[in-house]
Each structure stands twice: as structure tokens, then as C-alpha cells.
Assembly symmetry: C2
Homo-oligomer: 145 residues x 2
């Protein structure tokens, strides 16, 4: 496992997939920032920013899991924070691997309406256990705004 | 068509899909920022930043198409620019539609090794022709950093 802490959050549309992931990962998720009510609409940037802030402030390797209906809003909102590199994960395990090996991603976003629990867990397992390769990939990360 | 100008760019890994899209869209792509040589490695942030800058500077509706091997690097790099909302498009046409209707995305990123030309063109057609719905979605966009 590449991370010392894992943070998770979702909006109302991602609540149920968040709970399913939490049931499996009770012991390894450090903090659940909500939402805790799928019937009250909330704004995804608020939740993306809570996770991004925690990753930025932790003095070590940490990562985030963010879920909304399509995953698009969460991936945009989290990438706006400096030092956050977020993948919108479609369920492709090779892309999940490259997002760590080549892009050193520290956030994985899921679209709850577009990915199965099994696909999400497979990608998450790869994401959490793949090392960043550095080298020419670090040169590119250093050019990010 | 929702955009007055379309900019396109790729790194070496996305060159061939960029050329295929350009062959179909010769008349509607306003500017191709390269790369023009698939055999010389380049850094994706340089190309994402050229497209993002052009979108930000144009006084009207414009959008960008960015391509690398997985699409991940381009989607991270472009989302770092203020005012850019980039989708990493896996080929799902519903997500392409929501990315415009709900997230007002102005950049679409493709992973050349993971999407067919036909899937990319279908999603692009939807992306270019779907209106942003505003309302509660605008409230959320206003919270982006």
C-alpha cells in the first residue's frame, strides 16, 4: 500500500457507492467527509475541497476517493487544488495503473451511475498498490501549474 | 454547435488520433498546436497549457481537444488552469453529454491507446453540440477554485 492515509467523500449522487467502499475498507479509510444523506442535494466542490485540503496538509503520502454521479465534477474540482492529481476512473484497470505509475495521481474519482462496485474495487486496489515511476514522468509533473 | 473556436493538441502518444480527428474536422478546428512528430517525446503539460491559454484568451465560447496515451496527464494539466473544465472521456456518450449539460466542460481529453476513433468522434459530436443547463449547476461551478 502506497498511502499512509486515505480520505473519502461523495455528493448525494455518490453516497451509496461511498458506503459500499467504506464497508469493505473500514479499517484503512482514515476519514469520511460525507455526505451522509443521499436525499439532500449538496455541491460537489465543497466535498472535493475537504479531501484536497487534507491531502495537502498531511505530511506524508495520502490519497483521496471522490464520488459523484458521473465523476466529472469531482475530477475537475479536485484537480483545481495545487498538488492534487485526480483520475476520473471509468473502470479500466490499465488506466488506473498508469495514473499512479506515470502521473502519480493522489485522487481517484468514480461516477457512481457508470461503474459497478466490483470495477471500482478492482481499480482502487491497483491504484492503492502501484508505485510512481519518477524519471521522465517527474519532469512532466514539475511542469503542472 | 456550441463553440466558435476549437483548439487541438496532443503529445507524441496522441499524435495519430489527433491527425485522424483533424482529417474529419479540417474546416472547424481553428488551430492545431502540435505535436507534429510522433517519434519525438514531448511533455503533455506544454501542450495542455497552449490550448488552455487560447481558450482563456478568446472572447467568446471556445473549447479544446487534448490527446495523450491515457488521457490522464492532459486532463490533470488542463484542469489546473482557471476557467478550464476538462473531461477525461472514456468513450461513454452519456458522460460526454453530462460533462457539457452539468459541468459546462470546455476541454475533452482522449486516451489514444484506450478509445477507438469511432468512439472518440461520437463523444466529440455530442460534446460540441450539447448546451450547458445552468441553474443549480452554475452554483456548483461558481465554487470551483
Amino acid at each position: 500500500m502506497e498511502f499512509e492515509k486515505i480520505y473519502i467523500a461523495s455528493d448525494h449522487g455518490g453516497f451509496h457507492l461511498k458506503q459500499q467502499i467504506l464497508e469493505h475498507f473500514t479499517e484503512i479509510v482514515s476519514e469520511d467527509f460525507g455526505t451522509n444523506n443521499p436525499e439532500t442535494p449538496v455541491d460537489y466542490p465543497d466535498y472535493a475541497q475537504k479531501v484536497s485540503k487534507s491531502i495537502s496538509e498531511f505530511q506524508g503520502n495520502s490519497c483521496g476517493i471522490l464520488i459523484c454521479k458521473s465523476g466529472v465534477g469531482m475530477s475537475i474540482a479536485s484537480n483545481k487544488s495545487r498538488g492534487i492529481r485526480a483520475l476520473l476512473c471509468s473502470g479500466d484497470t490499465d488506466i488506473a495503473r498508469f495514473s499512479r505509475a506515470h502521473n502519480d495521481c493522489n485522487v481517484i474519482c468514480f461516477g457512481a451511475d457508470f461503474i459497478s462496485y466490483k470495477q471500482a474495487m478492482e481499480c482502487l486496489d491497483i491504484f492503492l498498490n502501484t508505485k510512481f515511476l519518477g524519471g521522465r514522468h517527474q519532469v512532466r509533473l514539475d511542469k503542472l501549474l
